[in-house]
Each structure stands twice: as structure tokens, then as C-alpha cells.
């Protein structure tokens, strides 16, 4: 244990050293306010600037077209340097915004916008704003909500890039997204389909596809796979920690199939009995009595014994059997006793 601990600490220290030695401060943002609010037009003062003084090309293009160096060079001798610094900041903040298809000319004539750039780009004059250049997508959805909800993304996004974009506002793929994406998919699956193929779902959820996704992509370190490391050893702990979590993706057959693939299934002739002595005794007070475990953790039983009524449970737990009533307090069902499952025990 000490050897692993030492190795881990050394790696952490080494990584931190490398990281913080390479860290630099964030590049400065372009001072929009200073340019727009400066004194102008008077004797000895420069011409008054508006947004379109530098961003005039926006009206001609469907994509983001930042100013050219010549815009800076008209007043600043070091225009190239200033432009590069400004672009550095833009890249650090968000490079993807360059790839939004947005016809400014068609939007500026809208009544809501009325030709005002700051309606959407108010962040450029707010020094505290974190989103500087473009508004959040929620602003777009003021008018395009219907397009969004039917997964019609390509008017603004480039189709081939959708799978690499991460939503920042609605459907925000935030810290808890991996856990919650199923909740979102339950109500907005058409939107999911705009970026992701159904095969994308099956890569992780379809347990019958052979190699797990983690084994297929060992180099995708940034992706958050669920079963990394030696999950095989840890999976009983994980399963007991959150008993139903496995059922989000796995069914009992996938448990057993994996056990068979790994060679630890009871399918094999002469397979070992994993249960401790006393498992089938009549002493219900014994800590190893199977009834206690079956009540508190039936999913563990399910991994091997979920074969419908045709299992050994019913040998004892049927009406008139020696095992008694298996139904716990509070158990109820609206099914009739003619249901196939019920008839195994309630034949009459």
C-alpha cells in the first residue's frame, strides 16, 4: 500500500509542478468601452466610433468577422500587435463562436433589435461580463424556440460540428450532465438527435455490443466514462453503494452475460457455490441467512437468479411450500392471480 501511495503522491506533485510552472495569466480583453465612450469629433480628437466602424463587415457575412488590422492601424502604430492580443483573448474565451452562422443583416432590421448591436452584445461594454462577444443561446430562442425544440439546429450551427458543441444554456452539459442526461432525454429526445446519432447511445447503453466503450477508446481521457480503471474489482462496491444505478443501463441478462464472458458464471458445470455456510438454513436470524440479503439487496440476487419463476426460489416460496410468504410488508400488486407470474405460486 505504501508503495502505491508514494507513487501516487510523487505523480501528483510532479503534475502540479508542471502545471503551475506553465500557467500564465489570462490575456486582456479588448477595451470596447474606451473606444466607444472616448471624446471624439472635436478639434484634435479622432473620429467618433460606432460598432460598425470596426465590425462593418458583419452585415455582409453569416459568420463572425472580426475587424481587420487596418482598423487598429488607423489610430495605433502597433496595430498588428494590438489585434493579435485581442484575438488571443477571443480564442481563450471561446473559439467556437466563430462558427455560428448568423446573418446580421437580416436580424438588424428586426423590430426587436432595431439596428442596435448592444441588444445582443451588451457584454462587450460590461467589464464584468464573462460572455463578451455573443449572447447566450437563450436570446436566440426568444424567436427560435420552436426551431430548437424540434431539433432544427443547422440554420445557425454547422451540421458537422454539432457533435462537438456543448450546450451552454438550455440542456447545459454541466457538472451533473452525465448523471442527468437520461432525464433530459425523456422529454427532449428530438433535440438530442440533432447532434447525436442513436448509435451514440448504444455505444454505452447496449451491453451486448462486445467491447466496452472504455476499451475502445483508452486515449479519450477527457471523456467521462463510467467504468474506468479496474471497475471489474470495484463493481460490487459500486452496485451496493447505489443499488439501482446499474438498472439504468443494465438488465439482469447483461449481468449474467458479462459473468459468462468473464468466466465466473454458474453456467459452468461444477461451478462453485459463492454462498456462505448457513445460507439455506432455517435460522432466519443468522447473518448469512439468504432471506436477509434477498430483502435488502435483491438486485445482487438478480445478477445470477433472475430467470423468471423458473428458479429455485419458488421451490420453497410457493403457496404451501416450506419457505413461507416471500412478500414483504407493504407489498402489493394489482395483477390478478391468473397472471403467469402469480400462477406459479398461487395455482389455485
Amino acid at each position: 500500500m505504501m508503495r502505491h501511495l508514494t507513487l501516487t503522491i510523487m505523480l501528483i506533485v510532479g503534475a502540479l509542478s508542471a502545471v503551475f510552472s506553465g500557467c500564465q495569466s489570462e490575456p486582456p480583453r479588448f477595451p470596447h468601452m474606451a473606444h466607444l465612450a472616448a471624446k471624439c469629433g472635436g478639434p484634435g480628437e479622432h473620429d467618433c466610433l460606432t460598432c460598425s466602424s470596426c465590425h462593418g463587415r458583419m452585415k455582409e457575412s453569416d459568420i463572425n468577422t472580426p475587424p481587420w488590422v487596418s482598423n487598429c492601424s488607423q489610430c495605433h502604430s502597433n496595430g498588428v500587435q494590438l489585434m493579435n492580443r485581442s484575438r488571443k483573448f477571443a480564442r481563450a474565451k471561446s473559439e467556437r463562436l466563430d462558427r455560428i452562422l448568423f446573418p446580421h443583416d437580416r436580424h438588424l432590421i428586426q423590430k426587436k433589435i432595431h439596428g442596435q448591436c448592444v441588444v445582443c452584445h451588451g457584454g462587450v461594454v460590461d467589464p464584468k461580463a464573462t460572455s463578451v462577444r455573443s449572447p447566450p443561446m437563450s436570446v436566440c430562442l426568444d424567436c427560435h424556440q420552436q426551431d430548437f425544440e424540434r431539433g432544427y439546429c443547422t440554420p445557425c450551427h454547422i451540421r458537422q460540428e454539432l457533435s462537438r458543441l456543448v450546450p451552454q444554456t438550455f440542456l447545459r452539459h454541466d457538472a451533473a450532465w452525465l448523471e442527468r442526461h437520461g432525464i433530459a432525454a425523456a422529454r427532449q429526445s428530438p433535440i438530442c438527435g440533432a447532434c447525436h446519432s442513436a448509435t451514440w447511445c448504444s455505444d454505452c447503453h447496449d451491453q451486448r455490443r462486445g467491447l466496452p466503450i472504455e476499451q475502445r477508446h483508452p486515449d479519450s481521457i477527457e471523456r467521462e466514462f463510467k467504468h474506468v480503471g479496474d471497475f471489474l474489482v470495484r463493481h460490487p462496491i459500486e452496485a451496493r453503494s447505489r443499488p439501482a444505478t446499474c438498472l439504468r443501463c443494465h438488465t439482469s441478462d447483461s449481468c449474467d452475460s458479462c459473468h459468462i464472458n468473464r468466466g465466473v458464471s454458474s453456467l459452468r458445470l461444477g461451478a462453485p457455490n459463492p454462498h456462505p455456510p448457513g445460507w439455506m438454513s432455517r435460522d432466519s436470524g443468522s447473518p448469512d441467512f439468504h432471506g436477509r440479503v434477498a430483502r435488502r439487496d435483491p438486485l445482487s440476487c438478480m445478477a445470477c437468479h433472475d430467470h423468471g419463476p423458473a428458479t429455485n426460489c419458488i421451490q420453497c416460496h410457493r403457496v404451501g411450500g416450506t419457505g413461507g410468504n416471500p412478500h414483504p410488508s407493504g407489498w402489493r400488486s394489482s395483477r390478478s392471480t391468473h397472471d403467469a407470474m402469480c400462477r406459479y405460486c398461487h395455482a389455485n
Binding site: H4, A176, G182, S241, R242, A244, L247, P309
Partner: protein, 525 residues
């Protein structure tokens, strides 16, 4: 899921050597994207205004609103190396995307461990095997139909597996299935999807069916969707797992051949959802799902889902799933997310689950317990700078009849340089459950050595509270080298070393060859 090691004999505490000899894989990916014709934007067509006068070199604009007249000399310079806007323009573009990939893996390894007496693992005569796995996907998106442009999608996804050399005991030598084979037609605010597909709507959770799904949405915000079809069963028409019954002494059925053959028509499902969405406020939905297994009831659930996003800084979502058979709440979830700025994500949630109510009603174990567990906790993510991301989270679980468990995680992702050539990631995990727990650490480094060459290395270490097969620790080391030797070709060589209670040493290597044309829409690679 219980593993045999829980009762194994300590004499075998040090496991035999498991030596995976070599894993070799090949990944071929072909993605073809084509653009044709014209795409209709959901935006008003531009109308030239008299205030804009444009020529090739300059733009003179009279901004009536701001009362300014500006003149900008538009002189291109060398620094602007981005592609011309015509590359992106969709003014006259109808985008038909066709994507396809095929990936083939051939792992070669030697299996040395098998179950032995009393739960021990033994090393019989080692068997060298060479299985082959193949994954294929073909997808067309936004195809034009005579009655509507950009309205049709098609997706086909297949997989296959076989054992070329040395099949293992009890395993098939070949296998395969169709994951997805569906055609979607969209028209205005409605859609119909036919074929093999996944359904995630409402109470369906995650269902796989051969059938039809359809939905329609009104401009007032109401939407209705439904689905019906035959449940997708493994390997075409076999009932799940019935060919893999347990040992003879563990079952009333001693031979799988004696089992009645499952009728395909008896396994079906149907369901639907009705919802309402208020623009930029939220929505609510009610749904039902009924699933039959051999004509008998498998699941009959109703669900309520809701979501609110009163602003970009807060969102909330919830779901309640009720098992209608027992008229009991099977699953309840409420989550609230806070995004005070673009750099912060904070998510909190509460969940209650009755595990047995999520099982099939045809599972004999579903009648044995109604115990539940509750979980509360939260996660956060903070971009300290664009190059440093901190993340963490903690959850506490109350397991009825067992006690309290917890899960805690924290770590960081760091890009030390502006170009993001180097990524350093480390995390710590602590999991506690009533019988055992562990501390886990992970350190990962990715370095783009040169433009076409990327190196990665990872180290996992786990410290168990209670020894597993006499061992308190396990570790995994993984390293990969990928080389993009042409724009669309990439080769990766990877290797890993495991040291765990199940293997004193497990060594593997993998070779992957990838070909990519264009950009992927999803799935591999």
C-alpha cells in the same frame, strides 16, 4: 451483483498470473459529408436597404438609429487566415450529411483464470483466443423529400463478433445484431420514425423496440408523442439470457433445450407522452409505458416530468416514476442547477428509488422486497481560468435496512499552455457502502508532442477498506501514443498494466487504425 470472491478461500489470496498477451485492434472510420442544393433558413429573407451601399473594397453605412455615418476601409491583411465566408454560408445550401464508419477490433489474449472450488479462481490450461469485433454505422441526415426539404433521416447500425481462434467454454463463436435500423420523416412540427430504434421519452426510460414512434408539436407549446412495437430481444428472437441458465442445481430447469421457445409476438411495448412547454420558462409532461414479456406484464409505469429554466442562471428538472402495478413510487428525482456565471456550474439533486420496482414484474425477485434508498448531494464545476477547471461532488445515500453510504469526488483539469498542447488531470474518489469502500486516485496526462503526435498516460490507484481476496490495493497504468500520419488517418498504440485482486499482473496492448473523412455526427470514433 455479488462476486464469488466474497466467500473465497484465503489460501488463494495471491492470484495466479493472468497475462493478457496482446490486444490488437483496428479502427476504420469513413465519414462522408456532402452538401447539395439549397437549405431554407428559418429566418426572413434579406431585403436590401437603401442605407447600405457596398462595393468590393469599402462599406459605407448610414446607421439611422445611432445617427452616425461611418466609412470603413476593408483591406484584407495576411493575419486573417480564416476561410472565406462562402465556405460556411448557407444562403443557398441544403445540407445533406452522409456519415458512415466501420471499426474492427481483434484482441488477442490468453485467459488464465476460471472459477474453481468454493469460489476460488484457478488457472487451468491457458487458452489463447482471438476474437474479432466489428461495428458499423451508416447515417443520412436532412435528406430532401419531394414534399419537404431537409426532412428525412436514416440510420443503420450493426455489430458483429466472432472467435477466430480458441473459443472459450460456453461462449458462442459468432454473434451479432442490428442496433438501429430506422427511417425518420419530419414534416413541419411532426415526425414519424419507423424501424428498430431507441425510445427514451417519458416513462420508457431507455427502451429498444422494432416499431414506430411519432410525435407532433403545436405552436402553442403542446406536444404529443407515442410509440409501439416489439421489444428488441438479444440475438434476434431469443428470450433474454434464457440460453444461459444457471447450474443444474440452481434451477428447476436442467436444460435450456427444455425451455419453451419465446414467442416474438408476446414481447411488445407501447407508450406515450403528453407535454406542454412554455417558451423560456419550462415544461411539464405526463407519460405512460406498458411492456409485455411473453404476453405477461413486464412493466406498467406512469411518469411525470418537469423542467424549469427561469433564467440562464438557474434550471430545475424533476421526474417521478410510478409503478402502476403496485401503485407505488418507483423513482423520484429533483435536481436544481445553478450557473451564476459561465465559469460556474453547481448542481444539486435528491433521488429516491425502490430498486425492485424498476425490475420486470416477471422477475421472481420483484416480489421479495420493497426497500428503498434515498440520495442527496451535489456537484460543481468551476473554470478558474480558461485553462484550469476544478470539479467535485458529494452524495450521501441512505440504504433502507443497511445504513448510510457516501460518494465523494474532486479533481482538476489543467491546460498549462495557451495552445492546449498539454492536459493534466487528477482526481480523488471516496466511496463508502455498508460492507466495503475505497479511496481512488487518478492522474492523467495528455501531451500533443507535435501536431500529428499525441501521447497520453494514466495511473489509477485504489485502496480498499476491506481486503478483497486478501488484497487492499489495486492499480492500473495506461499509456497510448497516437500518430496522425495523414490528415484523415490516425494510428494509435496503447498498452496497460493491471495489478488487482483478480490478477497479479495483466498486460495488454492495443493497436488502432482510424480513417476519418469529414466530421463525425456521433458514435465512433
Amino acid at each position: 451483483m455479488k462476486m464469488p470472491h466474497r466467500t473465497s478461500v484465503r489460501a488463494t489470496r495471491r492470484l495466479r498470473l493472468s497475462r493478457g498477451a496482446m490486444m490488437a485492434g483496428a479502427l476504420l472510420c469513413f465519414v462522408y459529408t456532402r452538401s447539395t442544393a439549397a437549405q431554407t433558413l428559418a429566418l426572413p429573407l434579406p431585403s436590401p436597404t437603401s442605407s447600405d451601399v457596398t462595393n468590393s473594397n469599402s462599406t459605407t453605412t448610414t446607421d439611422a438609429t445611432w445617427g452616425k455615418s461611418t466609412h470603413t476601409n476593408a483591406v484584407p491583411v495576411e493575419e486573417d487566415k480564416r476561410p472565406p465566408s462562402s465556405d460556411y454560408s448557407t444562403k443557398s445550401a441544403d445540407i445533406l450529411a452522409v456519415e458512415a464508419y466501420n471499426s474492427t477490433y481483434m484482441p488477442l489474449f490468453q485467459r488464465a483464470l476460471l472459477p474453481g472450488p468454493s469460489g476460488s479462481l484457478v488457472s487451468p490450461q491457458a487458452t489463447t483466443t482471438l476474437p474479432i469485433y466489428d461495428y458499423m454505422m451508416f447515417r443520412v441526415v436532412d435528406a430532401d423529400m419531394p414534399w419537404a426539404k431537409n426532412s428525412a433521416d436514416m440510420e443503420l447500425s450493426l455489430w458483429g463478433a466472432g472467435t477466430l481462434v480458441g473459443s472459450s467454454n460456453g461462449q458462442r463463436t459468432y454473434d451479432g445484431d442490428v442496433s438501429v435500423a430506422a427511417v425518420t420523416q419530419r414534416y413541419r412540427l411532426s415526425y414519424v420514425k419507423i424501424g428498430r430504434q431507441y425510445v427514451t421519452e417519458g416513462a420508457a426510460r431507455f427502451a429498444h423496440l422494432d416499431g414506430v414512434s411519432a410525435g407532433v408539436r403545436s405552436r402553442l407549446g403542446f406536444d404529443v408523442s407515442g410509440y409501439a412495437g416489439w421489444t428488441v430481444l438479444p440475438r434476434w428472437d431469443n428470450r433474454p439470457n434464457y440460453q444461459h441458465l444457471g447450474a443444474a442445481g440452481d434451477s428447476l430447469i436442467t436444460s435450456a433445450d427444455q425451455l419453451p421457445r419465446s414467442e416474438r409476438s408476446g414481447n411488445w411495448m407501447m407508450g406515450g407522452r403528453v407535454g406542454y412547454t412554455a417558451s423560456r420558462i419550462g415544461g411539464i409532461g405526463l407519460s405512460i409505458h406498458e411492456q409485455r414479456e411473453d404476453h405477461a406484464l413486464g412493466r406498467r409505469d406512469a411518469a411525470l416530468d418537469l423542467h424549469f429554466f427561469p433564467g440562464v442562471a438557474v434550471d430545475a428538472s424533476g421526474r417521478a416514476l410510478m409503478d402502476l402495478d403496485s401503485r407505488s413510487l418507483a423513482d423520484a428525482f429533483l435536481g436544481v442547477g445553478f450557473h451564476p456565471s459561465r465559469d460556474w456550474d453547481i448542481a444539486t439533486e435528491y433521488r429516491r428509488i425502490v430498486p425492485t420496482l424498476l425490475m420486470s414484474r416477471q422477475s421472481v425477485l420483484s416480489v421479495f422486497a420493497v426497500d428503498r434508498f434515498d440520495e442527496v448531494g451535489g456537484e460543481l464545476r468551476y473554470h478558474v481560468t480558461p485553462r484550469i477547471l476544478l470539479f467535485g461532488g458529494s452524495f450521501v445515500e441512505w440504504l433502507q435496512g443497511e445504513g448510510v453510504g457516501s460518494r465523494t469526488r474532486g479533481g482538476a483539469k489543467i491546460y498549462p499552455d495557451d495552445a492546449h498542447r498539454l492536459l493534466v488531470q487528477f482526481s480523488y474518489t471516496r466511496v463508502v457502502e455498508p460492507e466495503n469502500g475505497y479511496h481512488g486516485t487518478r492522474i492523467s496526462v495528455v501531451y500533443r508532442l507535435l501536431n500529428p503526435v499525441t501521447l497520453s498516460a494514466e495511473q489509477y490507484t485504489y485502496f480498499y477498506d476491506v481486503a478483497i481476496r486478501g488484497m487492499r490495493t489495486s492499480s492500473v497504468q495506461v499509456a497510448t501514443t497516437s500518430w496522425r500520419f495523414q490528415r484523415q488517418w490516425e494510428m494509435m498504440l496503447g498498452g496497460s498494466l493491471f495489478h488487482s485482486p483478480y490478477a497479479a499482473l495483466d498486460a495488454q496492448a492495443m493497436l488502432r487504425l482510424a480513417y476519418t473523412y469529414g466530421s463525425a455526427l456521433g458514435g465512433e470514433p
